[in-house]
Amino acid sequence: MIPPAFDYVRPTSVDEAVRALAEGGEEAKVLAGGQSLLPLLRLRLAFPELVVDVGRIPGLRGVREDGDMLVIGAMTTHHDVVHDPLVRRHAGLLAAATATVADPAVRHRGTLAGSLAHADPAGDLPAVVLALDGEMVAQGPRGRRTIAARDFFVDYLQSSLEPDELLVEVRLPKADGWGFHYEKFHRVSQSWAMVGVAALVRRADGHIAEARIGLTNMSSVPLRATATEQALTGAGDAEAVARAAESAAEGTHASQDASATPEYREHLTRVLTRRAVLAAAGMG
């Protein structure tokens, strides 16, 4: 567990970080909380020539409101997210899901933005931010741009960030009035989700008016269970939810590993989607 040699810089501003990334090109990597990059370095699965540590850049940590949006700075840790009153009030799904990430030590160092930029489909938070219709704000040499979550996750461990761009903010539309639940299935508490289902449900007149469902670890990127989302519209009881959940695994491409087959993961997706929606809708 000895990382290969690399150069290290610790910029004090976003501009300086972006310049360092631009100079480093494809061989540069951003270090935030280090909970994804350091294991990759130690296992010699990543060989960056330059590590740009953004941990000391002022102003990147914290949560604020911006009208109907919640804005979470890039260095905001999982622990901060779990305990932030704004997040709990306006994006309870994110707080609930983040509380299931790894263990307290990881949550005190790891960051929301780092987890999203790492783009591991087995991470809990990409699917959650996808379900929340979040957006990412990236800053690069050409200025700032905003990327919708559905366009952000490109492939396994690959986001649409350019090598010289730094993810500086995560913006989430306030989900006031939505019921939510994150159903995580894993074998031990510190392991990645075998499957995770992030459910957001808005009810009207005793029926589900709108549902958004994000799936963790069911493809090379986080997915939305769109067929189930559509089928849930108008669902008024547990039976209707169960029927809608039958299509939750449509369009997924689950992987095979030592813990589970794709067939089983698809089955879990259907069961967990039903449970997550029922819990989110208060129908459980």
């Binding site: 567990m1 296992l43 030592a258 879990l268 069961v271 967990l272």
Partner: protein
């Protein structure tokens, strides 16, 4: 039992003397040790399970910054003998050569091929990438049954077979005749997955050479400094008296450090070659390939009984995975289990055969319980199957067959003489704590409602053989060493006490427990006792720590040595008090003359009088120090009853342990807190085998579960609240009445959990789930059961 009720130190829940330094890390682990000029060794390992090495070129590594030396296996072959196997279990066992570093063939992924020595660990690791190795792939040997076929590829082609040995044990009536007269027979196959021991501290070794005198000090994170010293002399040819082995504080072992490793010999050989101190520390993922594994066994077991549940006989056929080489006690591990399959039950016939098989995987060897968990698992699983077959409650079936408390000492069908036990008492206590009848009622209710979440109840009784071991028994089992243990006690001039033990703790708290034992016999304060261990210069004799032996053998040796100190001190006290020895009483550290309580000398005063030696009896040696080497007369036999309730989500296959009760009888207890800690840790590891852990290999022989992200070690949130209680039936074969507790929890918990899962799934026609009982395996078992009944 409360502290107030305890007379003296033994039985008192003393906080451990070790904790302050172990918990804060203010201590020496091997990897912390630094000396002037220290170099770091890194090892290049085979990426293939099986291949011929056609070329190794280490010269490019020498060009890398900071590199001092680099060696191939061939470079080091001269002067390095084969690593030892100390337990050739049969006369005709196949004993392959085991070079500490491969020379012409690699036989498992992780086999060492070359090494680099550099100024720091980073430079050494980086330089490995420059070494060029050409391999000519050979077919892997992975399946235990296929490996025994005539046309199988061979792990050791010069041996002509993958069959390492066949070890039979047949006692009592012939099993075939028992089978014929039996009203019921049940036959099952159980599989023990390979496990990775996962001690918290990885392995590490530091060797410091003294060129002028040809002496070497070898620090190692080992359980066995004394055995290691002997074996290092054998492997390297360095005379034994020129080798000092130190086991500093060692962070766990679970058997994985009951080993003589190639890396230890390599560090010694390299330090000798270049005349500089050398350190090697494994990384966790390196350890997964290079530190020995545990379990790895296929069990065919058949049980014969009458309709009333009376057991008649047992037949056991094992195929056990040796891995690529025989390490220190690899072949003997299943043999430690051979005597335990009949467990606590009476029967007329026992027919056991174990076949050892070579595969191209990391060698196996001792892992917490070592053969005994495997045995207990098989018998306790099949007892549940038999109970189901007979329509009997599983506890009732056990009750009808176990040895009654009035029948001890009892010689089991396997030939062990159990000195004491009370299975009835432990079981009754466990059932009451568990609320067995209420849980059975809830189970029936859930089943009748067709609840998605089913309740299962698992029972496991067990006994085990601890206190390894009577040396003559070891001779009969063809083990190469003895089973004694050494202790000596030094009374210092100021009345303080040093206990020197041959055991080598790596988390067991011997410093605390040995202090309690010595304090009681000598009548000195607990705080006045220091315990010295783990250094062949300071504690020159010992057989080290494994197999729940330390308290039973080593602790008893401390007791005997302390008694000798008191006997010696009595002579001096009698002289000083001008009384006869017979007229002296000794209590609470004070010698007094019967009838004249004012005439008294404390043992501390005697220690000082001995130091000055101004007024000793004529001809008396000026010392009250004493030594005792104890060869145990028998094993000890802890036992207990464990009960587990699980909730199984039949939709997802997820298992949740709802409650866990264990009542263990480990004899007299020296320190209840330490005992409870041992039980908790043991339960965690046993549950881990049942539910979580497995060393998974692909078809090429690569370890797929090669990091802690894939090899699932449970942590506190994954485990239930344990209810741990005890009964106390003292052992009669040692002066302390103790039995050993290091492995009990691991032995009983695995079958208790799996029995509970199978019990929950009986309504679906399920009669086994292979370990680890992953959610998918459980889900598939439910689904195939439902399909079968549809």
């Amino acid at each position: 039992m409360t502290d107030q009720a305890v007379q003296g130190e033994v039985g008192r829940a003393r906080p451990r003397k070790e904790d302050a330094r172990l918990i804060t890390g203010q201590t020496n682990w091997t990897d912390n040790i630094s000396v002037n000029g220290l170099l770091h060794m890194a090892i290049l390992r085979s990426p293939m399970a099986h291949a011929r090495i056609t070329r190794v070129d280490v010269s490019p590594a020498l060009e890398r910054p900071g590199v001092v030396a680099a060696f191939s296996g061939a470079d080091l072959a001269e002067g390095l003998n084969s690593l030892p196997c100390a337990w050739p279990v049969t006369e005709d066992i196949v004993l392959p050569d085991h070079p500490p570093i491969a020379v012409d063939e690699v036989r498992h992924a992780g086999d060492p091929v070359a090494l680099v020595v550099a100024r720091d660990r980073y430079a050494a690791t980086d330089a490995l990438e420059a070494i060029e190795v050409d391999y000519d792939p050979l077919p892997p040997v992975l399946d235990l049954e296929a490996a025994l076929a005539d046309d199988s590829p061979l792990v050791h082609s010069d041996k002509g077979t993958n069959r390492c040995y066949v070890w039979p044990l047949k006692t009592g009536e012939d099993f075939d005749s028992v089978r014929q007269r039996a009203e019921v027979t049940v036959k099952r196959r159980y599989v023990h997955q390979r496990l990775i021991p996962n001690a918290m501290e990885p392995r590490a070794v530091v060797v410091t050479p003294l060129a002028a005198s040809g002496e070497y000090t070898l620090y190692s994170a080992t359980q066995i400094p004394h055995i290691l010293r002997v074996m290092m002399a054998v492997v390297t040819g360095i005379p034994e008296h020129k080798i000092r082995v130190i086991a500093p504080d060692v962070g766990g072992g679970f058997g994985s450090k009951l080993q003589v490793y190639g890396e230890e010999a390599l560090a010694l050989a390299v330090a000798r070659r270049i005349g500089r101190p050398v350190k090697w520390t494994e990384s966790r993922s390196e350890g997964y390939l290079a530190t020995h594994h545990g379990r790895g066994m296929i069990q065919d077991i058949e049980i014969a009984a009458n309709r009333d549940g009376k057991l008649l006989g047992l037949k056991v056929d094992l195929l056990t995975d040796m891995g690529a080489y025989l390490m220190l006690v690899t072949p003997g591990i299943p043999i430690l289990g051979a005597f335990m399959y009949p467990a606590i039950y009476k029967m007329d016939s026992y027919d056991f055969t174990c076949t050892g098989v070579f595969t191209t995987r990391t060698p196996t060897d001792a892992y917490r319980g070592a053969g005994r968990p495997e045995a207990t698992y098989a018998i306790e699983r099949i007892m549940d199957e038999l109970a189901h077959e007979l329509g009997l409650d599983p506890v009732e079936l056990r009750r009808r067959n176990w040895i009654g408390h009035e029948e001890f000492p009892y010689t089991s069908i396997a030939g062990l003489t159990y000195d004491t036990g009370n299975y009835e008492a432990a079981t009754e206590k466990a059932l009451a704590l568990f609320d067995y009848d209420k849980l059975r009622a809830e189970q029936a209710d859930r089943n009748s409602r067709g609840d998605t979440v089913r309740l299962g109840i698992g029972v496991s009784t067990y006994t085990e053989m601890c206190g390894l071991a009577p040396s003559r028994v070891l001779r009969d089992l063809r083990y190469a060493a003895g089973g004694w243990e050494a202790a000596s006690i030094r009374m210092l001039p100021t009345g303080k006490v040093e206990v020197i033990t041959g055991t080598s703790p790596h988390g067991q708290g011997h410093v605390t427990s040995w202090s309690q034992i010595a304090a009681d016999v000598l009548g000195v304060p607990f705080e006045d006792v220091e315990v010295v261990h783990g250094d062949t210069k300071a504690a020159p004799q010992g057989m080290d720590t494994y197999g729940s032996r330390s308290l039973v053998v080593g602790g008893s040796a401390v007791h005997h040595a302390a008694v000798k100190v008191v006997d010696k001190a009595r002579k001096i006290a009698a002289h000083l008090l001008e009384a006869s020895e017979q007229d002296l009483e000794f209590s609470g550290g004070v010698f007094s003359v019967k009838g004249s309580p004012d005439a008294r000398k404390t043992i501390q005063e005697i220690a000082f009088e001995t130091f000055t030696s101004h007024d000793l009896p004529d001809g008396l040696e000026p010392s009250i120090n004493a030594e005792h080497l104890l060869d145990p007369e028998n094993f000890s036999y802890p036992h207990g009853t464990h009960l587990c309730a699980v909730e199984v989500d039949t939709e997802t296959g997820q298992t949740r342990i709802r409650s866990y009760v264990c009542v263990d009888d480990v004899g007299k207890v020296v320190n209840p807190t330490i005992v409870e800690g041992q039980v908790h840790g043991g339960l965690a590891q046993g549950i881990a085998q049942a539910l979580y852990e497995e060393a998974v290999y692909d078809d090429e022989g690569n370890l797929v579960s090669g990091t802690m992200a894939d090899y699932l070690v449970p942590s506190a949130p994954d485990l239930p609240e344990f209810t741990t209680e005890r009964t106390e039936t003292p052992s009669t074969t040692n002066p302390l009445g103790v039995k050993g507790v290091g492995e009990a929890g691991t032995i009983a918990s695995t079958p208790a959990v799996v029995n509970a899962i199978v019990d929950a799934l009986r309504p679906f026609g399920v009669d086994d789930v292979r370990m680890p009982c992953t959610p998918e395996r459980v889900w598939r078992a439910v689904r195939s059961g439902m399909e079968a009944s549809a």
